[in-house]
């Protein structure tokens, strides 16, 4: 790494090299000979209406072939801008300075045309949103061939087609020959991301940049795509830059990590350095903010207060200081450089450096929970009461939601039924958090909507606080029900009317409940304080708040009428990691203090594990496993639960490197094609390993949701939980093809 970076902050005179670097003329002569990509002092500025935004402020790194660098940061940290600058894909208005060298050749300053010789050839990229990243009007085959044509004009049509089919097969598209002619809209998100990877590796790039490649995908699909990326890297020997906000995703993949904050790297080092010995409070906070799916012991998450700085203003001190609990006056005197952290650089990767003047005092013995003053784990008064003795706040009995699938214009014919929710029964007791998990399309959101609808004509019974939809669904019962049950939405921006001030947002339910004006005002102030917002912000519009604050407003609105049960639809999935922790802690606190019950739907199993008491796993409209969260997560019996849990990357590199993963085949099938027997049989790794004689049972009989399995061969006594699952062969042998273990390298 650059030796110049040791220049101390207080030196006021610039060296010649530094002056050259500031002028953008600096050439890195110090890059290791085997580095395929060397970046020195990369700076990106954008001219906006509000002033010059300095989005990337000095990035240096070297990347060698076959290695993976993870760039971790929250939205706005400059990580995506960095990758686009390397690709030369930033708009012309962006001012870029510094040096980007690919195989020793300078890329910055190249014309669009000259840059095109590298893009897609030795430098390739996979983007975040697979749904919009493919041109809708061309076949996928066409789009892969285009990448080949640009760089291999002499290649024959036949050869290109053969290569495209080969690439599709490599990224795991079933029957690639036929799918070659398909249009992007005929592919699912995961499949489209595979196509994107195929395009990126078409010309065997030396450097592959992946910008949040799995953020938009389900966990099981994420696991598949990460696996494809792994294969792609092995196949091409490329160096990979993996950009992500998810510390779990890179833990198993990356060799080196660079943590970015406010446009600057704040900590770099090998993956083990960063995860096991972080030396910058921000990194420590991030690691502490992520809940773990594999740990039962409950500790509060580390909340990082505040929001990242506005990059229009150049920070005069440490950019993290305003949010840092350890900040002192000296932190505000000049921005700290990356200081080398004492320790051995074992594998020749990135040296461990941290941009904090207190690095040396932040050794292994420091407890991050203490530093960030993580609140104590809140205890609800209901926690002491056994579940059976608590009141039921919500009960579902055999709720079904079937949509007819119609065809024909004038006379509609019913050609099938989509069983979005197919016979759901569960109950929620006072003071507990019950979560429903599953891939998108499994029916978890439909379940919420069915509960919120609360209508007499529904198929099945919904009982909310003793009020049943079957008995009375007149206006009065309904409004009584609405006081028992409120909802928090996934997208905090969409859930707030942009034309309402916070005061209006919060007063709407209160007015509707017939509260007097003066009381409403008092109640609103109370609510603002309750959710940790400044009461004098009530006159602001939602767009003046950050995402986390908006979600707090949404929570306050839900709590306005003092409901017993709050439905949470992916309450933190739209938020940044550091903000997410604060909201989760708030939800936890409110549950304990107000004795609330939650019904949560989430795709992030780590969050579910952290906050829930009980969990249900749904697959194609049915619950396949249900029970106490620790029981289900520590001892999953249904193969789907096992696969789902195994798909979640854990922010623990050592564990990630060695653990065995179950990679499910294909996507969630359409609920229309639901088979006669077990829904999951088409993708089941246990089923695949069964002898045909035993498979028969799975295909013909529907496994019931039952508490006790047929006693296992070991004859272990059933644990005293209420865990239930719907599988004939729990704990069965898994198909070897579905298992993946990465060799430790």
């Amino acid at each position: 790494m650059s030796s110049e970076m040791t220049a101390s902050a207080e030196s006021s005179t610039l060296s010649t090299a530094e002056r050259l670097r500031v002028a953008g003329l600096h050439a890195p002569d110090d890059a290791p000979a085997d580095a395929v990509l060397s970046i020195r002092d990369l700076n990106v500025r954008f001219n906006t209406e509000n002033g010059v935004v300095h989005a990337v402020r000095g990035i240096d790194f070297d990347l060698r072939a076959g290695r993976t660098l993870g760039i971790v940061g929250e939205s706005g940290s400059g990580k995506s801008v960095t990758s686009m600058a390397v690709m030369g894909l930033l708009p012309e208005t962006a001012e870029i300075s510094g040096s980007v060298r690919l195989n020793g050749k300078e890329l910055l300053g190249l014309s669009d045309k000259a840059m095109c010789r590298h893009r897609g050839n030795d430098l390739a990229m996979v983007f975040q949103d697979p749904l919009s990243s493919l041109t809708p009007v061309y076949t996928v085959g066409n789009q892969i061939i285009e990448a080949l044509t640009v760089h291999n004009p002499t290649m024959t049509k036949r050869a290109k087609e053969a290569r495209a089919v080969e690439l599709l097969a490599l990224v795991g598209i079933p029957s690639p020959k036929d799918r070659f002619k398909a249009f992007p809209h005929e592919f699912s998100g995961g499949m489209r991301q595979r196509v994107m990877i195929a395009i990126a590796i078409a010309n065997n790039p030396r450097v592959l940049i992946a910008d949040e490649p799995t953020t938009a995908l389900d966990v099981t699909i994420q696991a598949q795509v990460l696996e494809v990326l792994h294969t792609a890297q092995e196949e091409t020997g490329a160096a990979v830059v993996m950009i992500t906000h998810d510390l779990g995703v890179v833990a198993g993949m990356a060799d080196d990590i660079m943590v970015m904050y406010a446009g600057k790297p704040v900590e770099t080092g090998s993956v083990d350095d960063i995860y096991y010995n972080p030396r910058m409070p921000y990194t420590m906070g991030l690691l502490g903010a992520v809940p773990r799916v594999d740990i039962a012991e409950k500790t509060s998450l580390v909340p990082i207060e505040g929001i990242p700085p506005n990059l229009v203003h150049t920070p005069t001190g440490c950019s993290f200081a305003p949010r840092c609990p350890l900040a002192s006056d000296s932190c505000l005197q000049g921005e700290p450089e990356l200081w080398a952290v004492a320790g051995e650089n074992l594998d020749g990767g990135m040296p461990h450096k941290a941009a904090c003047i207190k690095t040396d005092s932040l050794g292994l013995e420091v407890d991050v929970h203490e530093i960030f003053r993580a609140p104590a784990v809140p205890v609800s008064r209901f926690d002491a009461i056994p579940r059976e003795e608590r009141r039921t706040v919500l009960e579902l009995r055999d709720v079904k939601k079937h949509f007819p699938l119609l065809k024909g214009a004038l006379l509609k014919r019913r050609i099938g039924t989509v069983k979005a929710v197919d016979g759901l029964s569960f109950d929620i007791r006072e003071g507990e958090c019950f979560s429903i998990v599953g891939e998108s399309g499994c029916g978890k959101t439909t379940t919420l909507l069915e509960i919120m609808e609360f209508h007499k004509d529904q198929d099945g019974e919904v009982v909310i606080g003793g009020l049943s939809n079957k008995e009375a669904s007149d206006a009065r019962t309904k409004s009584a029900m609405r006081k028992e049950l409120q909802m928090v939405f996934q997208d905090p921006t969409g859930a707030l009317d942009p034309r309402f001030t916070v005061f209006e947002v919060l007063s709407e339910p209160l007015e509707n409940a017939g509260m007097a004006k003066a009381q409403i005002r008092k109640r609103i102030m109370e609510l603002m304080e309750l959710v940790g917002l400044q009461p004098d912000h009530v006159n602001r519009f939602p767009n003046q708040f950050s995402g986390g604050q908006r979600q707090r407003i949404g929570i306050a609105r839900a709590l306005a009428v003092n409901p017993k049960l709050v439905v949470l639809d992916e309450p933190v999935s739209a938020l940044d990691v550091s903000v997410q922790a604060g909201v989760i802690n708030l939800l936890d606190k409110l549950r304990a203090e107000l004795g609330l019950s939650y019904l949560m739907v989430a795709h992030d199993l780590s969050v579910v594990r952290h906050i829930s008491n009980r969990v249900a796993v749904m697959y194609l409209g049915k619950i396949v496993e249900i029970g106490d969260v620790d029981a289900v997560f520590d001892n999953p019996r249904h193969p789907y639960t096992r696969a789902l849990l195994s798909a979640i990357p854990v922010p623990d590199p050592a564990l990630e490197r060695t653990r065995e993963r179950i990679i499910l085949e294909g996507d969630l099938p359409s609920p229309l094609d639901a088979p006669a027997g077990c829904n999951f049989a088409t993708r089941c790794p246990v089923f695949a390993a069964l002898p045909p004689a035993r498979q028969e049972k799975c295909l013909t009989l529907e496994p019931p949701l039952e508490p006790l399995p047929a006693p296992g061969p070991g004859g272990t006594p059933a644990p005293p939980t209420d865990q239930q699952f719907a599988c004939f062969y729990p704990d069965g042998e898994l198909d070897a093809d579905a298992l993946v273990v990465h060799e430790t390298n």
């Binding site: 897609g120 050839n121 919009s132 009007v137 285009e146 249009f183 395009i199």
Partner: protein, 328 residues
């Protein structure tokens, strides 16, 4: 695909039937040709008028419903759209006039689309540069000028040119010089001299909408994710835009074609009136002032058919450019 188009056509046929029926009732209950006949010299007796109208199938004594049934039966059984008060047959008159209108508009429609879309692409590529500002401002200016006034101004301009040159370069009215002798070349020059002004006028008024729409759609797509993907493959920015963004930006433009054809037809009334081309448009207005029920209804039906054709063409064009709406 064909089945889908056939289904759409059926829906439109039903709509045309409804609008035409509504139009017939409106016309039959408001247009009273007998009043005009009364102004003739020598003044015919009311009985004579009624008799003559009865012979032409325009019996004023029948109720609107009875006349509607007669009229509809005529169309359905004999494809006979009835007669004018002066005895002319609608079917015969109609053919000539449709041909004239079509000749007037066809060139303009094609030019409007091509120029509008081309300028839209051009200005999108040069966003905020002087040429973009000039062309786009022009398109917005067209928006605040009523079409007939624009045609009239073009006509004035052409007359001015003729006067300045001192020779009749352009004909500002009429479709051809009556009784022109000469070989094919002279005929062709005469045709050009007649076509130039109206075609120019209709085109420069028409393209603005397309320029603005195409510019907007293309700009919406220039920074789309899939264009970025194309650039990441190694296409230059311009290649990526022409190969990917342009094709996608055509989708909404293709859909809006549905509205050009009737729009130009509607503008056509004005054009025909001002340039004195006796097409369907000016005929329809004349028919109304002559209290001609059948002719007015026929032109209304024609307008609806043109609209339906435009809409079906738009559907067809959309399915051509957008694989997502291809019907299985």
């Amino acid at each position: 695909m064909l089945r889908y188009l056939a289904k759409r056509a059926l829906t439109y046929a039903f709509m045309i039937f409804l609008t035409t029926t509504a139009g017939y009732f409106l016309a039959v209950s408001t247009l009273k040709p007998a009043l005009l006949e009364q102004e003739r010299i020598p003044r015919p007796t009311p009985e004579q008028v009624a008799n003559s109208f009865r012979l032409k199938g325009l019996d004023p004594d029948l109720s609107p419903w009875e006349r509607y049934v007669d009229w509809l039966t005529g169309i359905l059984t004999r494809w006979d759209w009835g007669r004018s008060p002066n005895g002319a047959f609608i079917n015969a008159e109609f053919g000539d006039r449709v041909w004239i209108s079509t000749r007037l508009f066809l060139a303009s429609i094609i030019l409007t689309l091509i120029i509008g879309v081309a300028l839209g692409v051009y200005t999108a590529a040069r966003q905020y540069k002087a040429s973009d500002r000039v062309i786009t401002s022009y398109s917005y200016l067209v928006y605040i000028v009523p079409a007939p006034i624009a045609y009239f101004l073009v006509q004035l301009g052409a007359i001015n040119i003729n006067e300045t040159v001192g020779e009749r370069l352009f004909f500002v009215t009429g479709i051809s010089t009556p009784g022109l002798e000469g070989d094919g070349w002279a005929q062709f020059i005469d045709m050009l001299a007649h076509y130039a002004v109206p075609t120019f006028a209709i085109t420069i008024v028409g393209w603005g909408t397309y320029q603005i729409a195409q510019r907007q759609y293309l700009l919406d797509n220039v920074n789309a994710d899939f264009v970025r993907t194309a650039r990441a493959k190694g296409l230059t920015r311009n290649q990526a835009i022409t190969r990917h963004a342009l094709r996608v930006s055509f989708i909404p433009v293709a859909q809006s074609i549905a509205f050009t054809i009737p729009a130009i037809f509607a503008g056509g009334f004005f054009a025909e009136k001002i340039f004195a081309w006796h097409g369907v448009g000016s005929w329809s207005i004349d028919a109304i002032s002559l209290q001609d029920v059948n002719a007015a209804t026929a032109t209304l039906a024609y307008g609806s058919v043109i609209f339906a054709i435009g809409a079906i063409l738009a559907d067809f064009a959309t399915t051509l450019v957008d694989p997502r709406v291809r019907v299985q």
